[in-house]
Every structure is written in C-alpha cells, then in structure tokens.
C-alpha cells in the first residue's frame, strides 16, 4: 500500500512540474523579450520608437512605425478579401452543398490550412506575384489609379509582383480555410428549430441566413475573424517571400514594403546592438498582440455558450 502511495506522489510531482513548465516558459518569454528590448526602448523612448518611421542602420536610428503599419495594412487588406470569401464558403457548405460532398470539402479545407507557410510563400512568389503583376495591376492602375488624390496609391509598379498587395493576398488565401471552418462550425450549431420556424414563416434561404443564422452566430463569427487576424499578424514566411522588405515610405499598394515579421526574418541574423534590441522590441509587440487578440477572440467565442 505504501509503495503505491509513494509512486503516486512521485507521479503527481512530475506532472505538476510539467504543467508549471508551461507557465514558466510563457513568463520567461515575456521577461526575456522585455529585457532584450529595453536598450532600444530606453534609447529611443517607447512613444518615440512606436512613432518613428526611420529604420536606418547607418544612423543607428530605428523606429517601429513602418513595420507596424505594414503589418496592420496587410492584415486589414487580407481580411477584406478573406472574410466575404470565407463566409460565402461557409454558407455554401452548410446550406447548399450536397451532404455527400460536405464532409470531403470540409476536410480538404482543413488539410489545406495545415500546409506549411513556406509553401504558401513559394507559391506566392512564383505563381501569384507574376500573375497579379501582369493581369491585376494594370487593371487597377487604369481604373482606381485614375482617381484624383487617392489615385497615386493604386499606381502599378513593376517590381516582379513583390509588394504589400501580393503579401495581403497570400495572407488572405492562408486564412480563408481558417475563417470558413470556424464559421461553418458556428453555423452548424444553430438549432434547426430556429431555422425551420423562419422557413415556416415563408422566409427564403437568404432571409433565414440574414435574420436568423447570422444574428445567432455573430459572436462566434467575430471571434473567428479576430483569431484569423491574430494569425495574419504573426505570419512570417509567406509574407517575407513576397513583401520585398523595403524601408521607404509607402507610395502605392503595389510597392514593396515591410512588416514586423519580414523585418525580423530578414535582418535578425546580422543584427547587433541597438538594431537587435529594436528587433526584440518588435517581437515583444507581436507577443503582446497575440495575447490581446486571443483574449478578445476567446471572450467572443465563449460568449455564446
């Protein structure tokens, strides 16, 4: 009997240590990132660091504004494209798709979400970027590009298709399966009774979706979108391939630019001193952004239950 008790204690201790390790690792990560980024934050000042656009090795002057804006803009553009497509997909899969195909397509989508991001990056560089440059850029350049004032922002640029727009499109392709599978799951949770009542009143499929399904699932849908946003913020390889990592003012959405992750992937290896510390500060921003988006998403996703 006593032997069993001792063994139980040992086992309990082991598992307790293992679970504490998760806490320790996350805290250690936070502390390490703060300590490593302190030299830069002290030297430039937090507010100054966040609002400086310059990223200049020669002058040893580093600011986070451009990478931050690049990450923000590429994520927003990606969401603008991905959300409607993913919603359409989810609607198709829950409402229109024949039952036999539903499972297969759903699984295929989930498998596509598992493909490593470097593969998406390669595809973006060799297939999507040239395609967008040849067919899509002239189209936009000659329509939106002709508009007064904002027109210059849509000017076509010839740089091999390496630009922030291509990066956003790759991001949106990557998050489409993600959003649509969350949306699909949420829509499948709607009690059939609710939908049937709506049909019983004579509503069409679209009206039922619009007035019953979407209001019922809106929290989960918002949660899914925010989760996808978190994923897009931290996506590295796919973006790094096609963004060009150029530290200059953004003059068009078809110009090369930079994001937090691309500047890290490109410059971390050769960095030292203030530059390295600035890169750690960018990592810290991403780390905090992850926990922020996740806690918002969790609240939204949990809210319905």
């Amino acid at each position: 009997m006593r032997v069993g008790e001792t063994k139980n204690r040992i086992f309990k201790g082991l598992t307790a240590i293992a679970s504490a390790s998760v806490l320790v690792i996350v805290l250690a990560m936070l502390v390490t990132l703060i300590v490593q980024s302190l030299p830069a934050l002290r030297h430039f000042g937090l507010v100054n660091f966040l609002t400086t656009a310059d990223w200049n090795y020669a002058l040893n002057n580093f600011g986070a504004l451009r990478p931050l804006f690049g990450t923000f803009l590429s994520t927003i553009l990606a969401l603008i494209v991905a959300v409607p497509v993913a919603m359409g997909m989810a609607i198709f899969l829950t409402e229109l798709c024949p039952n036999k195909l539903r499972g297969t397509i759903g699984t295929a989508l989930e498998l596509l979400a598992a493909i490593p991001s470097i593969i998406y990056g390669m595809w973006g560089l060799f297939i999507l970027a040239p395609f967008l440059e040849i067919y899509f850029q002239p189209l936009v350049g000659q329509s939106l590009g002709r508009l007064p004032i904002i027109g210059s922002f849509f000017q076509a640029k010839l740089a091999g298709g390496v630009n922030i727009f291509t990066a956003s499109m790759i991001l949106s392709v990557m998050i489409i399966p993600f959003i649509s599978s969350i949306a699909r799951e949420a829509m499948a949770q709607v009690p059939p009774m609710l939908k049937e009542s709506s049909y019983g009143l004579g509503a069409t499929r679209w009206e039922t979706l619009r007035h019953v399904v979407i209001p019922y699932t809106k929290m989960a849908l918002a949660g899914g979108i925010i989760l996808a946003m978190g994923r897009a913020l931290g996506e590295t390889m796919a973006v790094t391939y096609v963004i060009g990592n150029r530290h200059a003012a953004l003059d068009s959405i078809f110009s090369p630019y930079t994001t937090i992750t691309s500047v890290m992937a490109n410059e971390f290896n050769e960095a030292d001193g203030l530059k390295l510390s600035s890169l750690f500060a960018l990592a810290l921003i991403l780390f905090l952004a992850n926990f922020l988006t996740l806690s918002i998403a969790k609240r939204l996703l949990g809210g319905k239950k």
Partner: protein, 281 residues
C-alpha cells in the same frame, strides 16, 4: 406577388454569390496543391535524397540529403522534449489539478500560447541559447520547436482526458488502485488515440516550420548533425534556394517543398484516420 418575386431574386443572387465564393476559394486552394505537385514532381530527382548540396553551376549533382536528416533530427529532438512534457502537463491539468484556479490559468495560457507567432519563439530561443553560446546551434532550434509543440499537446491531452467518463475512474478506485495507476492504465488508455492524434498533428506542424529555425539552428550545407553547431534544415534550405537566381536551386526548392507538403498532409490524414477508426469501435 411582385414582392415575392423580388425576394426570390435576391435569394437567388445571394446564394449564387456564396457558391461563387466557395468556388473561387476552392480553386485557389487547390491550385496551390496543383502547382506544388506539378513543379515538385517535375524537378524531383533521386539525388535530392542521396547527395549533399553542391554549387548551383554544376549540372546534375547536388541534393539535400543533409537537410532532410537535419530537419528530421531537429523535429525528433523537439518531440523528445515536448511530447512527454506536454502529456504530463496535460495530465496534471485534467486530473490532480482539475479544481485549482492556477491550473485553469495554465490551461488558458496554453490555449493562447498555441498561436504565439513562431518567429517570436525563435527570438526567445535565440536570446537564451544562441546569444550566450555565440554560435547558431541545433539545440536552440530544437528547443524553439519543442516550445511550439508543448502547448498543443498540453491542450489535446487535457481535453482528451477530461472526456473520459468519471465512472471509469471510480470503478478503478473501487478496486483499490492508487491514482497514478488509474491515470496510467485507465485514463491514458481510454484517451490514447486522441492524444496520439494530437501528437501527430503537433509534429506535422513543426516539421514544416521555418521561421523559428532562421536564427536558432540556421542552416548548413554540409553533412553535419552535431547539435552544438548550425544544423542543416530543409525548410531554411527551401527558403534560401527559392530566393536564389539559379534555376537548378529553384527546382530543388520545389522538389523539397513537394516532399514536405506530402509528409505534412500524410501526418494530418493519419491523425484523422486514427480518430475515425476509434469512433467506429
């Protein structure tokens, strides 16, 4: 009647748009697979697996043998660290600590840690393992990958074990089994297939990771499996080769991309099959 017609048209248009969205999305996603297949198989040569990297200007020599082995080694070491730690941690959260507040916190934290950008984990491994040693090393890469695996396994283990009904445990307790015996021979066995699937999916995720290796284990062009040095990596090689101006290297990057995609998809499908088989029982 006119109103009805209008509503029907609106419905028809909306549903067609949804169908179109689905079609566009599916076509795009399958186009990726198609391109990787065609380009990859087109440049797949046996020497990819049997030879080490060679200069790009030499015709018909050079492969990525060391990169395959290096990537395998890194993934293996990461799994050896991350899997047991994760399973044990998940066990504590689901069993001994199920009523503790701190364990709910750890559980939530793991949930969030799953989506920490992998490049951020790379910077952490760099700060604790590369900076002090002043040299890129395999341990740093393996630790970074292990940190990515850990929360995924913690969460799946916890979830799978929580799903095991309490009556099973009570039956074992009634026979006089101590708690650790109940866990190892009852709860673990009941949730084995789920935990195993979680492990497979976690390994599939890190097998294709690039970002956390960039400044930890980095890459090497030589047959070099010493973990205290830079270790060759398949994904980092893909990254470097694809961005190079040499046609032969780009071809090799496609071939390697094809192999890694097949491997990752295979692991994912295996995981799903295991769950399906279990459900049938």
């Amino acid at each position: 009647m006119d109103n009805l017609k209008r509503r029907k048209i609106v419905n028809y248009v909306a549903m067609t748009l949804a169908g179109l969205c689905a079609a566009v999305g599916l076509v795009l996603l399958f186009l990726i697979l198609y391109n990787v297949l065609v380009e990859g198989i087109g440049s797949l040569r046996l020497r990819l697996f049997t030879q080490d990297p060679a200069p790009p200007n030499l015709p018909n020599v050079g492969g990525l043998r060391c990169a395959f082995l290096g990537q395998g080694l890194l993934t293996l070491v990461a799994s050896v660290i991350g899997v047991p730690l994760g399973v044990l941690a998940g066990t504590y959260l689901a069993e001994y600590g199920r009523n503790f507040k701190i364990c709910r916190l750890i559980s939530t934290l793991s949930d969030m840690a799953v989506s920490i950008p992998s490049i951020v984990i790379g910077t952490f491994a760099y700060a604790i393992l590369v900076k002090p040693m002043k040299v890129f090393n395999g341990w740093a890469g393996a630790v970074a990958l292990a940190i990515i695996i850990l929360p995924i396994i913690v969460r799946t283990t916890e979830e799978m074990m929580t799903m095991v009904p309490w009556t099973l445990r009570e039956a074992a307790f009634a026979l006089g089994a101590p708690y650790h015996k109940v866990i190892t021979s009852i709860v673990w066995r009941a949730s084995m297939s789920g935990i195993f699937t979680g492990i497979l999916l976690a390994i599939a995720r890190v097998a294709g990771e690039t970002a956390p290796l960039l400044f930890t284990s980095f890459n090497s062009n030589h047959f070099q499996l010493d973990m205290s040095q830079a270790v060759p990596s398949l994904t980092v090689s893909i990254y470097q080769y694809a961005a190079s101006p040499y046609e032969s290297w780009v071809g090799m990057a496609w071939a390697a991309a094809f192999v890694i995609t097949v491997l990752v998809l295979f692991l994912n499908i295996m995981g799903r099959v295991i769950i399906k088989l279990k459900k049938k029982d």
